[in-house]
């Protein structure tokens, strides 16, 4: 990721800070950095969100398209994740430089959305075997300040919340043709149920302890981290996937405790995100006309 050059002394300082449960920016090991969230800022997209987690800046745009369901899942819609690491974040991403990282994040995200209980693709089906919605979730990484996985998953969840899918009714006509009719009212839309949508939490192992929400500097000091995908259902948290990244290794006990830490952090994070989205929705009003701050603030 973003190459930050740290000397041994700086690394030791960070390491000691983590050991004492008092990190460089004053946080404890379980604290997140402040976030800013705004939805509905890209007018060409069906849904969008911008999330800024300290220095990490993520813009998500969701576009919808009508497609034919795959023959193996005739009653399911489709969702596709695409991540673009903009060269604005670091010159290393120029050309095809960011593709590896982008692939890693989008694969992890796709895996966590795979379960039918985390994200129900059946709701995206219009007419089984004939027509379904395809969601293109396009993620743009504009600045890297550490903890990309968490920021991306939160921004995607917020963008899905903001997504409005036009209400269509389908009828099968003679000869297997499908007749789709679109509602006349542009505000007549379906929303996506987001309560169970998973979020990712990165737990980073620095020295012998684990922290959540590592900054870019802290990521440099860590050899291994584990990303857990967590979905909420009936007030309980469920793991949807676990992904390990980095070159180091975890002891079994450490891994178990980090997954536990990830789960509890995700629970809190999810709760806060839903509160923030509800506030944003109120600011929106019914017809979505409001002042957009975007990057001007």
């Amino acid at each position: 990721m973003a190459n930050i050059l740290l000397s041994d002394a700086e690394k030791t300082f960070i390491l000691h800070g983590v050991e004492e449960d008092f990190r460089c920016d004053g946080r404890t090991r379980r604290d997140y950095r402040p976030m800013e969230l705004e939805t509905g800022i890209v007018s060409h997209a069906s849904g969008s969100a911008r999330l800024r987690l300290a220095n990490t800046d993520i813009l998500v745009g969701i576009k919808t398209e009508i497609d034919v369901p795959s023959p193996y899942n005739i009653d399911k819609g489709k969702i596709e994740f695409f991540i673009d690491c903009s060269a604005n974040a670091t010159p290393e991403f120029e050309g095809r430089g960011g593709e590896e990282l982008a692939q890693e994040i989008s694969d992890t995200l796709a895996k966590s959305y795979q379960s039918g209980q985390a994200f129900d693709l059946r709701k995206l089906c219009i007419l089984p075997g004939q027509q379904c919605w395809k969601l293109y979730v396009d993620i743009l990484i504009l600045e890297c300040g550490g903890n990309l996985f968490d920021a991306v998953s939160l921004a995607v969840k917020a963008a899905l919340f903001n997504t409005k899918i036009p209400r269509v009714t389908a009828a099968l006509m003679d000869g297997g043709n499908v007749d789709l009719s679109l509602s006349d009212d542009p505000y007549d839309c379906n929303r996506i149920e987001i309560n169970q949508i998973p979020i990712l939490v990165t737990v980073c192992k620095i020295g012998d302890s684990c922290v959540v929400d590592p900054s870019a500097e802290e990521e440099q000091c860590s050899a291994a981290s584990v990303v857990v995908g967590v979905s909420q259902r009936d007030n309980k948290s469920f793991l949807t996937n676990i992904h390990m990244c980095g070159v180091g290794s975890f002891h079994q006990e450490t891994l178990e405790s980090s997954v536990e830490l990830g789960l509890s952090a995700a629970e809190k994070l999810d709760e806060e995100l839903l509160i923030a989205l509800k506030l944003e929705e109120e600011r929106f009003g019914k017809y979505g006309k409001k002042e957009i701050f975007g990057f001007l603030r």
């Binding site: 007018s43 060409h44 745009g61 903009s86 060269a87 604005n88 396009d138 600045e143």
Partner: protein, 249 residues
């Protein structure tokens, strides 16, 4: 759509502007902290982010001992257009845009001041609604200023087109671009009235060229004063802690 529809009898365009009016320009310098310079600019519904890294040491084989290398990359977010794009960069159009940007910016940067160095300018179009090249140039200028790179002067770009066969239009939007006639994109150095780059998309009669060009240049002038105001405001804000604010006023 016929060419006639671009301008109504009352002299109003499709989006309610008059023929000689620019779209609303809003901009901000220093949006990000990691790049050496960054800027965000929206011109109507076209929204662009620019980031500048450098000047830093140029890689060995590219290094030029007499002047700086200006390295650009133009990319568009896949959700920026009405129809989803398949890839953000690397297609013909973006590569062409990259070359044009490079050409324009080299005309404005004092290249001789930074030998053996390289300046990276990265442009990201978040939303495209016509005049992408112009918005990119304007945003890049602001980002270069934010990075503290020596420029000869502001470099501003503006488009112009022709409606009803004889009325020049300033700063055309996407709808006017696709439904109207030729579009002339001009990047100029407005203070010295020089043209750094010019491109015309279709044919039109030579007789019309002077007045269309004139409109585009006027647009550049107006954009320059908007950018200049933004730069002054930004510097007054940034420097207010050290009391620069009073001097800049």
């Amino acid at each position: 759509m016929a060419n006639q529809d671009l301008l109504s009898d009352q002299g109003l365009r499709l989006d309610g502007r008059r023929a000689h009016e620019l779209r609303r320009i809003r901009c901000k310098l220093g949006v990000f902290s990691q790049p050496d310079g960054s800027a965000y600019l929206e011109q109507g519904n076209t929204k662009v982010l620019a980031a500048v890294y450098g000047p830093h040491q140029a890689p060995g084989k590219k290094s030029n001992h007499s002047e700086v290398i200006v390295n650009c990359q133009y990319s568009m977010a896949v959700f920026s257009t009405g129809e989803r794009k398949n890839r953000p960069r690397g297609d013909r159009k973006s590569q062409e845009m990259t070359i044009h940007l490079q050409q324009t910016l080299r005309a404005a940067i004092k290249t001789e001041l930074y030998p053996r160095s390289q300046i990276d300018v990265f442009i990201e179009v978040l939303q495209a609604d016509g005049g992408n090249y112009c918005a990119s140039v304007n945003a890049a200028t602001l980002a270069l200023i934010d990075a503290g790179i020596c420029l000869k002067e502001y470099v501003c770009a503006c488009t112009a087109s022709l409606a009803n066969g004889n009325v020049p239009l300033m700063d055309v939007s996407h709808l006017e671009e696709v439904s109207g006639g030729a579009t002339l994109s001009v990047a100029s150095l407005p203070s010295s009235n020089k043209i750094a780059f010019m491109e015309m998309s279709q044919r039109f009669h030579l007789d019309h060229l002077p007045k269309v060009l004139d409109h585009a240049l006027q647009g550049c002038q107006q954009i320059m004063s908007i950018l200049d105001k933004a730069v002054r405001e930004h510097l007054a804000l940034v420097g207010s802690a050290s009391d620069w604010g009073n001097i800049a006023k």
